[in-house]
Amino acid sequence: MRLCSPKMLLCSGLVLLVVAMLSGAMLGPVSIPLSSLLDGLATVFGFTVQTSEGLQRDLLIVSAIRLPRMLLAALVGASLALCGAAMQGLFRNPLADPSLIGVSAGASLGASLMIFTAGVLLPGGTLGHLSQTVLSQAVLPEALGLPLMAGGAFIGGSLAVLVVYRLATGGGNSSSGTSVATMLLAGIAISALAGAGNSLLSFYADNEMLRRISLWQMGRLDGANWPRVWMAGTALALLLAGLLGQSRALNALLLGESEARFLGIDVEHLKRRVVLLTALGIGVSVAVAGAIAFVGLVVPHIVRLVIGPDHRYLLPASALLGASLLVFADTLSRLVVAPAELPVGIVTALLGVPFFFSLLARQRRTAA
C-alpha cells in the first residue's frame, strides 16, 4: 500500500524543491547558467567577489525578479497544499479542496468587499480609484491594500468554511460523516455568490481594471514582491506551527467526531483551529496571488497514495510538494508563451481538473 517510506518522500520532496527553485532561477526570457547562480551564491555569502558585468546583470535579474517570485510561489504552494490536507482531514473526505468547496471564492469575495467598503468609507478616495490602486499593485497603496485584502479574504474564507462544514456534516452530529454532494453544492452556491460580488465590482471598473480583476481571479504570481513574500511567509509559519502539532488529533478525527471524542480529543477546539488556520492560509494566498485552484486537492492526494493518510507525514510532505509543484507550474507558465506569460492558475487548473474527474469517478465506483 505504501510506495515508499515517509522519510524518503520528505527527502525527495526537499530535493524536488531545490531542483524546482534552481530551474526557476535559471529559466526565463534571459537564461542564466548554473555556474552564474553558484558564483552569485558564493558572492552573497562573501567567499569571492565577482565584478563581471554579465554576472552582475544576472544576479540582479535573479534577486529582484525571479527570487521573490519563486519564494512567493513556494510559500503559496505550501500553504495551499497544507490547507487542502488539513481541510480534507476536517471534512473526512479527500475531495474537500479549498477552491471546490467555495473557500477560495469566499475569500476573494471578502477581499473584494473589503476594497469596496474601503472605497466608500475612505474620505477623498473614490471606489474606482482605490480598487484600481489596490488591484494595480502600485507600490504605495499596497501597504494599505494588501493587509485590507488579506483581512477581508480571511473573514470571507472562514465564513465559507463554517457554512459548508455545518451544511455538509449536519453540525457534526450526524454519524454518517460528510455528505459529498452537500459539500460540493454548498461550494457552488458560495462560488456563485462570490461571482456576483465580483461582478458588482467589475461593474464599476474601467477596461484596464477589468483585465486586472479577471487576471487576479485566475490566480497569478507576477505581482510578486518582498512585502508579499513576507506576508505569505508569516502565514505559512503560523499554519505550520498551528497544524503540525495536531497531526494525531486529525488522524483520530478521521474516525468521526464522536470516535475522536471517545479517544480524548477536544474536537471543538481542533475544528475551530483548523477552520481559522485554513481560512488564514487561503485568505493570505488569495490576497497575494489570487485564487490558485487545485493545488490543495492534487498534492495531498498524491502524498496519500505514496505514504498513506497519516497526518504526521501527510502535512509536512504536502507542504514540500505543494511548494515544488507551484514553483514548477510558475516556471512553466513563464516559458510556454514567452515572452508573455500565462497566469499560473490556468496551469494548475489544467493539471488539476482531469485529476479531479478521475477522483470523482473512483468515489462513485466505491460508493456504488
Partner: protein, 265 residues
Amino acid sequence: MSLNTAAATLRVGKSVLLQPTSLTLKGGEITAICGPNGAGKTSLLRLLSADVRPSSGGVSLNGRELSQWRAQDRAQTLAVLPQHSSLNFAFAVEDVVALGRSPHASGRQRDQQIVSAALAAVDSGHLRGRCYTDLSGGEQQRVHLARVLAQIWQPSAHGERYLLLDEPTASLDLAHQALLLDVVKGFAAEGVGVCLVVHDLNLAARCADRLLLMRAGEVVASGPPAEVLTVAAVKAVFDVDVQLLAHPQSGAPLVIQNESDKKLR
C-alpha cells in the same frame, strides 16, 4: 467506583428517546442490553459514553460527573465501540489500532506491543499490514474492536475501566462471535466493566451477568439472564412468541422463536 446514570433522560425536540433511567455498571460485570429497534439502547449507550449530555438527570464515572472529566483521562478509562465507523481513508490496520493509544503517553515501543496484543486477541494479527479500506465488513469490525481494546489495555490511573460496545457482533461470523464473547469475558475478569448492545438474546444469555430489556425508551426488565428471559417478557418486549429451553451444556436459557402463525395456516 462505577459508571452509572441517575434518572437520566434524553429528549430531542419533543420526542423522548430515553425515559428516566437509573443504571449502574460495575467493574468486572458484563451487562447486555437487548430490545427492539428504536428502544433506546443506543441512546442509553450514548449517555454512558458522554457522546450526548442527558436532558435531565446525571451520568457519573467513578464518582465524578461525566462532563467534569478531562477528555484525555476519560478516554483512558472508558472506551466505546460505535455501531458504524465512517473511516474511509487507506490507513494500515496497525495504524487504525494505534489510534486507540492516542490518549496515552506510554511510548512508541509499549504502544506497538499493545497494538500487536490487541490484534492477536481478536484473531486479526495477520491483518496487521493490510490496508483498512480493503478489508471486509467483519474484518473492519474486528480492527475497531482491537482499537478500543488497545485503548483500555492497561489499568487506568483514574479508577475502574469500562468498555461500551454497540452491536459488536453485527457483522461477525459464528467463530468470531464466540471469540468476542471470550475476549469480553477476559476483560471482565480483569475488572473491566463491560456493557454491550446485542440483538441475539442467546448470545446475551451466554455472556452477560445482567440482562437489560428495553422497550420504547424504558428499561422494562433487569437482572440475571435466567430470571429476565421468560416467555412472557420476550412477548411483551419483542412481540414474538418463543419457547425457552436450557442450553444442553451450560444450562443458560436458550430462546427459540415459534413458527409464525401465518406460516402454519
